[in-house]
């Protein structure tokens, strides 16, 4: 159930950011809040649950971004693995670190998607390097907003944590 909860949260975040960007930015900038969800899964999720949830979040990203099916799903699982590797070597507990990692995760998704598309998609349909400033902006904004999602992500995780019976239990 936990992966499903994360997938639903990612869907909620995607809808929220779509509405926000419609009303606040008018399309001038973009966000990738589900990337923060992936980073959270990489930091706090288990291998199986985390990777499944990451795949689900990637599926949601594929849907909401309108990209080819499978592209962001694979990248999301890769991002999950990268974050897992980073967290194994570096202690990342603060919100700032989470924000930085979320920003980097958003950039990873964007650049990865661009690279894969330039490779696999016909040249006339592939994204160009002109999108780079937008990607950087998206990563920066995502990194700025990601710390605000920490309580929500904790809450979702808390829904599935069981109290261990203690000595008095």
């Amino acid at each position: 159930m936990k992966p499903l909860a994360h997938v639903l949260l990612a869907l909620l975040l995607a809808a929220l950011q779509a509405a926000l960007l419609r009303w606040v930015g008018g399309g001038w900038f973009s966000l990738a809040l589900p990337a923060a969800c992936l980073v959270w899964l990489g930091l706090h999720g288990g291998n199986v649950e985390g990777s499944v949830a990451a795949a689900g979040v990637g599926y949601v990203l594929d849907l909401v971004t309108g990209s080819h099916k499978g592209l962001l799903t694979a990248l999301a699982v890769l991002l999950f693995l990268v974050v897992r590797g980073v967290s194994a070597s570096v202690d990342l507990r603060s919100r700032v670190a989470f924000g930085v990692l979320s920003g980097a995760g958003a950039l990873f998704l964007s650049l990865g998607a661009m690279a894969l598309q330039r490779w696999a998609v016909p040249p006339e349909a592939a994204p160009g390097a002109v999108l780079l400033p937008r990607m950087l902006g998206e990563a920066a904004l995502t990194g700025l907003l990601a710390p605000a999602l920490v309580p929500v992500l904790r809450r979702v995780d808390g829904l599935f944590e069981r109290e261990e019976p203690g000595l008095l239990g």
Binding site: L16, W23, V24, A55, V64, G70, T73, A120
Partner: protein, 291 residues
């Protein structure tokens, strides 16, 4: 085999989760993205959230525009009202200037007529309407400016009256609609002579001494005949209305609408010299005087 799978199941799962989507992507990369029923169902789930967020944000924006952003608008509206009032006053002043300029331009064109007439411009500074029907305009020019009694007072549209009294710096004009005013005229169409006498009303006068045998019709233009020694010839006086041909007697009656409404005159021209018929000097106009 199963033991191997059990040992690396997590790795295999992750590999599957990466490789299968990648395979799907590469398999469909050359075609435009399509959405299955499941995809559409998932997107449909997100729609209410987007709508709710949109509604919340639009409500917040409209609340901001409707209430918070209106802070200080009362003061701004008051300032704008004050400015509008100032501009209206300024606009009225400019309209008055324009109207004055048009009148003065007409007077200037009138004075440019090719004859021996000389004019002195004057401004109406007072109006006196007596209970006896006396209608007098006071001008800001007087004897010191060369104005004398009996001088004709005109505007571009026609006769206003004549100078009745003069002081050093002002002069009084007896307007043509005054009961004491009588001006010798000709009917422009037939050249028949008559008199226009005031009735004490600002918008009406009477045609006197028009012979019953003369052809007078409504709409006939009346101009000064110059025979009274006060007004030069050819200045418009008014237009005939309501002709009443009598069955007997020497004369016929008719009403005259003056060419000039003396109540609306602001600037006038006093004719200080002009060519006189037969070299006759200006003579005082007596009420009821014959032409």
């Amino acid at each position: 085999m199963f033991a191997l799978f059990q040992r690396y199941r997590e790795l295999i799962l992750v590999a599957v989760l990466v490789l299968v989507p990648l395979g799907v992507f590469f398999a469909h990369a050359k075609r435009p993205p399509e959405r299955s029923r499941l995809d559409r169902a998932v997107v449909w789930l997100a729609t209410p959230v987007e709508r709710a967020v949109g509604w919340t944000l639009s409500s917040a924006v409209s609340a901001w525009d409707g209430y918070v952003a209106l802070r200080g608008s009362h003061e701004r509206a008051r300032e704008a009202d004050g400015r509008i009032r100032d501009l209206e006053v300024e606009n009225r002043r400019l309209l008055a200037y324009r109207s004055e300029a048009e009148r003065l331009r007409a007077l200037l064109a009138f004075t440019a007529s090719p004859d021996e007439r000389r004019y002195l411009g004057a401004r109406v500074i007072g109006v006196r309407l007596g209970t006896t029907g006396l209608q007098v305009l006071t001008l800001d020019r007087g004897e010191a400016d060369g104005i004398a009694r009996m001088m004709p007072v005109v505007v571009a549209e026609g006769v206003v009256g004549r100078i009745q009294a003069v002081t050093g710096s002002t002069s009084d004009v007896l307007v043509l609609t005054d009961r004491n005013s009588s001006i010798a005229v000709r009917i422009e169409r037939t050249r028949a002579r008559a008199n226009v006498r005031g009735l004490g009303k600002p918008d009406a006068a009477k045609l006197d001494f028009a012979l019953r045998t003369e052809d007078v019709i409504e709409g006939d233009a009346l101009v000064t005949s110059g025979t009274d020694g006060v007004f030069p010839r050819g200045i418009p006086v008014g237009r005939v209305t309501q002709v009443d041909p009598r069955a007997r007697g020497l004369f016929q009656d008719a009403r005259v609408v003056p060419a000039v409404d003396p109540t609306r005159v602001e600037e006038v021209l006093v004719m200080t010299s002009w060519e006189r018929a037969g070299g006759a000097a200006p003579a005082a106009l007596a009420p009821g005087g014959a032409p």
